[in-house]
Amino acid sequence: MRAPALTLGVLGLTFLLALPLAIALRGMIEEHLGASLEADRAAAEWHAGWAAEFGAQAQGLGRTFTHEILGFGGTLANVSGLLERRELNPTLAGAIVAYVAAWIFLSGGLLDRLARGRPIRTAAFFSACGVYFVRFLRLAVVIGAVYWALFRWLHPFLLTTTYDRLTRDLTEERKGLLIRGGLYLAFVAALAVVNLIADFAKVRAVVEDRRSMLGALGASVRFVRRRPLRVLALYVLNVLAVLVILRLWLQVAPGAATPSWWALFAAQLYLLFRVWARLSFMASEIVFFQGELAHADYAAAPEPLWPDSPGVEAIQNLTRQN
């Protein structure tokens, strides 16, 4: 809450990244409707007949335009699609890769800002982004490989092999759902552990100014291992915050007949809270770490000053050595 610019900035980035594709989709819809009278109904409500016709002729991005974009169902579909390993539309997958890369770039600045606990200038923010980008990129390669392995092997092991074995002779769906729910929990727990270790690796990289990302990972593992319950409690509290936001979204998610601009406003407000929750997640981890192994607002690295890029810093170091 004390860094609204960060929240708005990340939301803005999300919006801007999604906007070109939305504009492209708009063109497809407009072209398909053309001068048709069906547009009258489509402009007023969800016109299932037309939407199906559109979907039948659509290629690429257009195929993502289904009723599953509507309201809270869209959110459910997104999370479910991820956990079910539903294949992504290639255009969307490309945009998601770019978005994740943007997050990796911004993470250094975000964590640095949150670690210092006070506003830093824009130049300093982006300077920190630059300082940590390559480090976090190296970290992302390692963590990404672990995530990939989880989806590639653990997911099918749990949700296909084990699930099949446990449900083969079941005649009660209830029990099957409980089993599936349990296996989801196991998979999500594995994701959460990796996520937690990656988070604290980044926190330690920033707060302790670590250069080695393998070292930061090792330090993160040790940190989590030595205080598992408190770390878990922190993680669960943050997850609960996200669940509360989702619950509120479920309550207010606009229906198809809601006026466009009001629907856009409500959705952006929800997304703003999602971004805020994500940043709060990061902030809480930093504060927790600082409370355990440092002190409040501590960051080992000096506040980055523009244009102190890593290159300039290297030159300065060389100069000092000479």
Binding site: T14, F15, A18, A22, I23, R26, I29, E30, L33, G34, S36, L37, E38, A39, A42, A43, E45, W46, A48, G49, A52, E53, A56, T64, F65, H67, E68, I69, L70, G73, G74, L76, N78, V79, E84, Y99, V100, W103, S107, T160, Y163, D164, T167, R168, D169, L170, T171, E172, E173, R180, G181, Y184, N195, A256, S260, L264, A267, L271, R274, R278
Partner: protein, 646 residues
């Protein structure tokens, strides 16, 4: 049609030949020329079923029968070499190949003899009349010592053993739930052209003659059993098993189910002008709260089909709620959504939202099959559209009538755990009921008049179910519901307890309509053509306007073009729809405000209705902005979901 009359008269004569309890039945409503008295014992642990009995068969054809042909349907799942399996492999469906040996099925004859006469078993020979597949064992033939003359009756003693499979194609076992259909050696249909006894195919169902069934089934004591017909006796055999005797006449198949876990509900259907029917519902215990929904849907079908087409003539109907298949990869296929005489399987989920159309749609559909299949017993191998299509159309109509505006689209997430009702995506008869969206991608794959077992397997159901529902909906809009209903009522009355052919249906349509509708059936049934009419071009200025409409696909259908002018006047033009395009010229002071091809949306088979209209004040920009903004926020949500990994 003297041959049909001859057959009917012939059929009604020798009913005294039907043995046992069938003699106590009311006067025969059907030819009853293939009657069975069977006894079978189920051993659940071993999943074996052994049976024996006697078939009383009368030759109702006008030719002697020098051989008999029987179906052994379960051999379709004996191995991966059957035609049933090969047809699935043809479309890349190899999911069954990984099944364990004990999950496959088999049925083997152990006795086949003319009652008191020749042993026919050594002569048993598997035949594959459809595809000459030497590995298919779903049809066998036996030569007779002496041909059975027309009208003559033959009694055959049968015995067999079989292995109940893990559920395949709505048949089999899962845990202690058994659904046992197509389970006995069933004689084919002999008509004037010879034996109509097709192999079991992956995408088609069944065909059999009417008869009287007297079946005794032995299952573990305490297990509930439901079957075609009505239970006449129950005998505890003292060894942990109980024998249930079920009897029904004027039916053409017999299916049954048993499980210790069923919950039983009984109710009665009563509606003015229709005979009362006892409803017996066998539910999975986890669906007990949905009993009323099943009963209401069954009542809705009995009521509307009864009022529209003709009354349900049997005294009872059994509704089976099957085990829910939530993981088909492991559990096997669903036994839900299948019809048998006086018994059908519905299908629901543990949590079925009230706004969702499940279990109502499947229940109405399968109850509806009691009319289009059970009574009007068309050949499902060759003309699947006649039962599935007519029934899909009727289901959609009954649903719209019974629950107007109630249902919405429901999607299930997280492996089916969480259903979500999309309140803005309302169920519509034309789109959802007639299944336009499933038909659109395969519209030109097969002419519907092709024998159904020869359809491309991946699109067979769309051609049978969806296309028929769409063209019947089109016919209804074209000639009106009263005439359409009269056609269907007449067809139902003349076709009940018989095997009517497509030509009979078309002849009745022509007769009732009082004009030749051949052009219509040529377009929608005898051709694989698809339909797409469009407004191609509109130029309009004061005093000079031109409209060009086009036929963009090969399907031809007469239509109306409605031109609206900005002074409020309207012109309706008729177009036979044959030429690739047609232009209309107007010299009037008003400009054209809008143009619509098929303004009443009569042609439900038009695959792209969006291009059927043009307006001078298009709102595509407003609509596209609206939905692009919705999509934008959805995509932002997706991006934030994946930000988890950053």
């Amino acid at each position: 049609m003297p041959s049909l009359r001859f057959l009917l008269v012939l059929a009604m004569l020798p009913l005294v030949a039907i043995p046992g309890s069938a003699r106590q039945d009311p006067p025969a409503r059907s030819p009853r020329n293939a009657s069975y008295r069977l006894e079978a014992t189920l051993e659940p642990a071993a999943r074996t079923l052994s049976g024996s009995g006697r078939l009383t068969w009368r030759n109702v054809a006008r030719r002697p029968a020098s051989e008999l042909r029987f179906h052994l349907y379960w051999n379709a799942w004996r191995d991966a070499k059957s035609s049933w399996m090969r047809e699935l492999q043809l479309i890349g469906d190899t999911r069954f190949r990984a099944r364990r040996p004990e999950d496959w099925a088999s049925i083997d004859m152990t006795r086949l003899a003319v009652a008191g006469g020749a042993d026919l078993l050594p002569r048993l020979k598997f035949v594959a009349p459809d595809d000459n597949n030497p590995d298919d064992r779903t049809v066998f033939s036996v030569a007779l010592d002496r041909p059975v003359a027309p009208g003559e009756t033959l009694e055959i003693d049968l015995a067999w053993t079989s292995h109940v499979p893990r559920t395949f194609a709505r048949t089999g076992a899962l845990g202690n739930y058994f659904f046992v259909a197509q389970w006995f050696p069933k004689i084919g249909v002999l008509d004037d052209l010879g034996w109509n006894c097709h192999q079991f195919h992956a995408t088609t169902e069944f065909f059999a003659d009417f008869g009287a069934y007297d079946v005794s089934l032995t299952v573990p004591t305490g297990w509930l059993l439901g079957a075609t017909g009505r239970e006449q006796a129950r005998t505890d055999r003292g060894n942990g098993t109980t024998t249930h005797r079920y009897v029904e006449a004027d039916v053409h198949d017999f299916a049954w189910t048993t499980s210790p876990a069923f919950v039983e509900r009984r109710d009665k259907f009563e509606s003015p002008g229709l005979p009362a029917v006892d409803i017996r519902l066998l539910l999975q215990s986890e669906h007990a709260e949905q009993a009323q929904r099943h009963l209401d849907a069954t009542r809705a079908a009995l009521k509307y089909y009864g009022l529209w087409f003709g009354p349900y003539p049997y005294a009872q109907i059994t509704v089976v709620d099957p085990v829910t298949i939530f993981n088909a990869r492991a559990q096997g296929e669903s036994t839900g959504g299948m019809e048998y005489p006086t018994l059908f399987t519905a299908g629901t989920r543990w949590y079925a939202p009230w706004l969702g159309s499940q279990p109502e749609s499947v229940t109405v559909h399968e109850a509806g099959h009691q009319f289009w299949y059970g009574l009007v017993a068309t050949n499902e191998f060759e003309h699947a559209w006649m039962d599935e299509g007519l029934n899909t159309y009727s289901t959609a109509r009954a649903m719209a009538e019974t629950w107007p505006g109630r249902f919405v689209t429901v999607e299930r997430y997280f492996g089916g755990m969480i259903p979500w009702s999309y309140a803005d995506v309302r169920w519509s008869r034309d789109v959802d009921g007639s299944r336009l969206n499933t038909f659109r991608p395969v519209a030109g794959y097969d002419a519907q008049s092709t024998p159904s077992w020869q359809y491309w397997p991946a699109s067979a159901s769309q051609i049978s179910y969806s296309k028929t529902a769409l063209w019947l909906g089109t016919l209804e809009k074209l000639i009106g519901w009263p005439t359409t209903q009269q056609i269907l009522t007449t067809y139902f009355q003349r076709g009940s307890f018989r095997h009517p052919t497509p030509d009979e249906f078309f002849a009745i349509a022509n007769e009732i309509r009082g004009q030749d509708l051949t052009w219509f059936f040529d377009a929608v049934h005898r051709s694989a053509a698809h339909f797409d009419y469009a407004v191609s071009q509109v130029t309009s200025s004061a005093g000079d306007s031109t409209v060009v409409v086009r036929r963009l696909a090969d399907g031809i259908f007469p239509t109306t073009i409605r031109v609206r002018f900005d002074d409020g006047s309207t012109m309706d033009e008729s177009w036979d729809g044959r030429a690739p395009w047609r232009s209309f010229h107007y010299t009037r002071p008003a400009r054209i405000a809008s143009v619509q091809v098929d303004p009443e949306h009569v042609l439900l088979l038009d695959l792209n209705y969006t291009n059927n209209s043009w307006t001078a004040r298009p709102r595509a920009e407003t609509a596209s902005k609206r939905w692009a903004l919705r999509w934008l926020t959805w995509f932002e949500d997706l991006l934030l979901t994946y930000a988890f990994f950053a």
